[in-house]
């Protein structure tokens, strides 16, 4: 699709956005742990993305492109939020209950990189290659972060309980 042939970039943008918006939101939610902040982050990312949309030449890359924009935004918001920490001395977490609230709570045990990778991999079902493209980490880094995240979250325990 060529933007030059399209008289309504807003429509094209909306169409492309409709395919990824829920992924964007749940990525933001799992990174930030708060639905209001996640909504704000996605809104701002959408605005930024639309401003630069006419420069996007290959629409096949829309998903990774808008995820990159959101990822950058989340980093800043996350750092700001981190300054008001919750007291916790947990070392490991068992996700034994699968309510969304508890999932978000459990993710707090992960550091920023681990949470990023875990959110993209587990919640958005992306491959390490896709995650690498969005975050700039190389694939082996992605895998090592995921390994550590799983170790912390004890997903083996989680999987056992699902069975």
């Amino acid at each position: 699709m060529d933007i030059a042939d399209n008289n309504d970039p807003a429509l094209t943008f909306t169409k492309l956005y409709s395919e990824v918006y829920s992924d964007l939101y749940y990525y933001a939610l799992s990174r930030l742990g708060d639905p209001d902040n996640a909504e704000d982050a996605v809104s701002e990312a959408v605005l930024d993305a639309y401003k630069g949309f006419r420069k996007l030449r290959d629409y096949k890359r829309f998903k990774s492109w808008i995820f990159k924009i959101l990822d950058r935004k989340l980093k800043y918001i996350y750092r700001e939020l981190r300054r008001r920490p919750e007291e916790s001395d947990r070392q490991e977490v068992f996700i034994s209950d699968f309510s969304g609230v508890e999932v978000l709570d459990a993710l707090k045990v992960l550091n920023e990189n681990e949470r990023t990778v875990f959110s993209l991999s587990v919640i958005n079902n992306m491959t390490s290659q896709e995650i690498s493209e969005i975050t700039g980490m190389n694939s082996s880094t992605v895998r090592s972060h995921l390994l550590r995240a799983r170790k912390k979250l004890r997903t083996d325990q989680l999987e056992h309980e699902i069975q």
Binding site: L29, E44, D58, P85, D89, L104, G136
Partner: protein, 636 residues
């Protein structure tokens, strides 16, 4: 059960408890993006000077109008001398055109207004200030770029930290709105001799302290539901610890510089000059929109002549692709006046002041790749005579101002080209920016995260390749990557910084072997200028390097390196004895209980041969000679 099924289960749980908000549904985002459709005409190519100048006038007019609209009310913009209770109101700057904007200008005005509103929703804090922050051996820059500046010593700018010390006291501003003054008691114990609350709303980020001329200045940003973000600069007498002055300005802190006897305080909505010589001599403020975000930078430098102090600055309007290069002329207490030169175009801007002038790089993103244009800008004897003297265009982008360096008539530029995943160093003649030479592409598939130029050498950290990479730039026409004899140098993620006069230290971990935990490498400079590994240490397989809020401590004279890390999820501050001849060994692990690693901002301060490690309101005392923890204090 497969990963896919458990992923789905987790995702379903989130979807059930947290449905996507209506505002984000595709059918509702048209409202959101509608405001973006009306965009001002952009001009690219700086040498279209006529257009640029015409637009410049418009910008000045609009900025002035915006300033008047957004300027704080007089009674909120005060410099208060607490001793005599007098309140003095600052003067607004002289502006070149204060007429009402025309229709086209009004559109731009509205854009600025929208940006301003966005900024308030998405304010920046101290962590984004991209300058070395170091006093008395403390480094608080929060990323590994920060640590690429030597944590040792201080420089003329002596940018602030939340921790400082003079020969009597330690001053410590916590994230809990408190400032403490601590002193060693007669029997060596640390005692609190004064404390005070930071006021003005909920603190955002870490307060910053500058000690100068017998006074303590504390800069911080607060958030208030009524007034939004406000940046404060309070002055305290260090002898009595009484507050003698306070200054506040709307917007969060972008940058704070102390140059000679002036503070330059840059918030997102103004640039203020605050003189220290007389407490009431607030020179004035220059309203505008100073956006410092995601690689865009504000920068300023100062030069003096017999009559005026001319402060040169660069600010960028992110999203609107306007970079303003200005000269502020202040004549000791008079109002500020300003002249702009505006560059239009580019999605992000990086500014760097070299010895010869200002260099601006604007990057325009195109799909996966990016095209950048670099400009050299010279300031003439006439403070208002600002000229662009050269330009250079290249494929790729520069990460931040650490990628630019002027040295012996050459500007060195370290750039990343995302389209082919290669990085290069360009060497340009400084004035016209003619290309003299460039390296071969390096770090394939990765991108530059930090550069340290050191005379004819440079070393570079990248994401995704073995670090650091060394470069010989002594021949401008043939810069090249220096091969090292270390075959399996791991990819170290956290930081690299100078240690002593001839060594580098890298702290990080090898993601290909995460079970190894943190690794510390020392490199020694050889006679030919390149570096070779001289020592390495693995303090423990369970020790993870913390990449948040740095806090590297380095003292090569005492042979001590300290850095924050975590072990089993608990924060630690590790001290290592490091010597380029005898190697490195683990000295002390300072552990903290009951806090989560994500909350850690560890800082260390060498004071009177004792190292104090600060974490929130806990201070631990480590003896430099024995390496053991001697005492622990809780600030109440």
């Amino acid at each position: 059960m497969s990963d896919f099924k458990s992923s789905k289960k987790i995702r379903n749980a989130l979807e059930k408890d947290f449905p996507v908000p209506k505002s984000l549904k595709p059918e509702n985002i048209s409202e959101l993006i509608k405001s973006c459709d009306e965009k001002p005409v952009r001009h690219t190519g700086v040498f279209s000077m006529a257009a640029a100048l015409a637009a410049c006038i418009a910008i000045v007019a609009v900025t002035a109008a915006a300033a008047l609209r957004f300027a704080p009310q007089p009674d909120t913009d005060i410099y208060t001398d607490k001793s005599d209770k007098s309140v003095k109101t600052s003067t607004l700057p002289a502006v070149e055109n204060d007429s009402e904007p025309a229709d086209d200008e009004r559109k731009l005005f509205d854009q600025i207004e929208q940006l301003k509103l966005n900024s308030q929703q998405h304010d920046q804090t101290y962590e984004d200030v991209n300058h070395p922050i170091q006093i008395s051996g403390v480094s608080t820059r929060n990323d590994r770029l920060a640590a690429m500046e030597s944590p040792e010593g201080s420089n003329g700018y002596a940018l602030p930290s939340s921790l400082a010390a003079d020969e009597y006291n330690i001053y410590y501003a916590t994230g809990d709105n408190m400032i403490y003054v601590l002193r060693k008691g007669s029997s060596g114990e640390l005692i609190t001799i004064a404390e005070t609350n930071i006021t003005g709303g909920q603190l955002v980020g870490q307060p910053q302290i500058i000690l100068t001329g017998g006074s303590l200045f504390v800069a911080y940003t607060t958030k208030n539901s009524d007034t939004g973000y406000t940046t404060h600069l309070d002055g305290y007498n260090t002898a009595m610890f009484t507050r003698f002055a306070e200054y506040s300005q709307s917007g969060s802190l972008v940058d704070l510089r102390l140059v000679d006897f002036d503070f330059y305080l840059v918030t997102q909505s103004s640039l203020s000059e605050i003189e220290l010589t007389t407490p009431d001599a607030l020179s004035g403020q220059l309203p505008g929109y100073y956006y410092h975000y995601s690689g865009n930078e504000a920068d300023l430098s100062e030069s003096s002549n017999q009559y005026d102090i001319n402060t040169r600055f660069c600010s960028s309007l992110t999203g609107e692709c306007v970079t303003n290069i200005g000269v502020i002329s202040s004549n000791f207490g008079e109002s500020l006046s300003c002249r702009y030169l505006s560059i239009f175009g580019g999605d992000s801007v990086t500014a760097y002041f070299g010895r010869s002038g200002l260099y601006i790089s604007t990057a325009t993103y195109m799909g996966q790749g990016c095209r950048s244009e670099l400009f050299s800008i010279v300031f003439q004897a006439d403070p208002y005579d600002v000229k662009i003297t050269g330009s250079f265009a290249f494929d790729g982008r520069i990460t931040d101002s650490s990628c630019l360096n002027e040295y012996t008539n050459y500007l060195r530029v370290a750039a990343t080209d995302d389209s082919d995943g290669m990085n290069k160093i360009y060497v340009l003649f400084y004035s016209g920016l003619e290309l003299e030479g460039s390296t071969e592409g390096f770090g394939e598939g990765s991108y530059i995260s930090g550069v340290k130029f050191d005379g004819n050498f440079a070393y570079i950290l990248t994401y995704g390749s073995d670090d650091p990479l060394f470069f010989d730039l002594s021949d401008p026409s043939q810069p090249y990557q220096v091969p090292t004899s270390v075959g399996a140098m791991p990819y170290l993620r956290m930081c690299t910084f100078p240690y002593g006069s001839d060594s580098l230290v890298s702290v990080g971990s090898d993601p290909n072997d995460p079970e190894n935990g943190t690794l510390i490498y020392m490199y020694q400079q050889q006679e030919n200028g390149s570096y070779l590994e001289s020592a390495r240490l693995s303090p423990g397989a369970d020790i993870d390097t913390l990449t948040v809020d740095g806090g590297i401590y380095s003292d090569s004279r005492s042979g001590v390196i300290g850095f924050p890390c975590s072990e089993d999820g608990k924060p630690e501050y590790i001290f290592v004895r490091a010597n380029s001849f005898s190697g490195m060994e683990l000295e002390t692990k300072v552990t903290f209980e009951g806090v989560h690693t994500e909350d850690v901002i560890c800082k260390a301060l060498n004071y009177d041969d004792t190292i104090y490690v600060f974490l929130s309101n806990v201070v631990k005392e480590v003896s430099l000679s024995s390496g053991s923890i001697e005492a622990e204090y809780t600030l109440e």
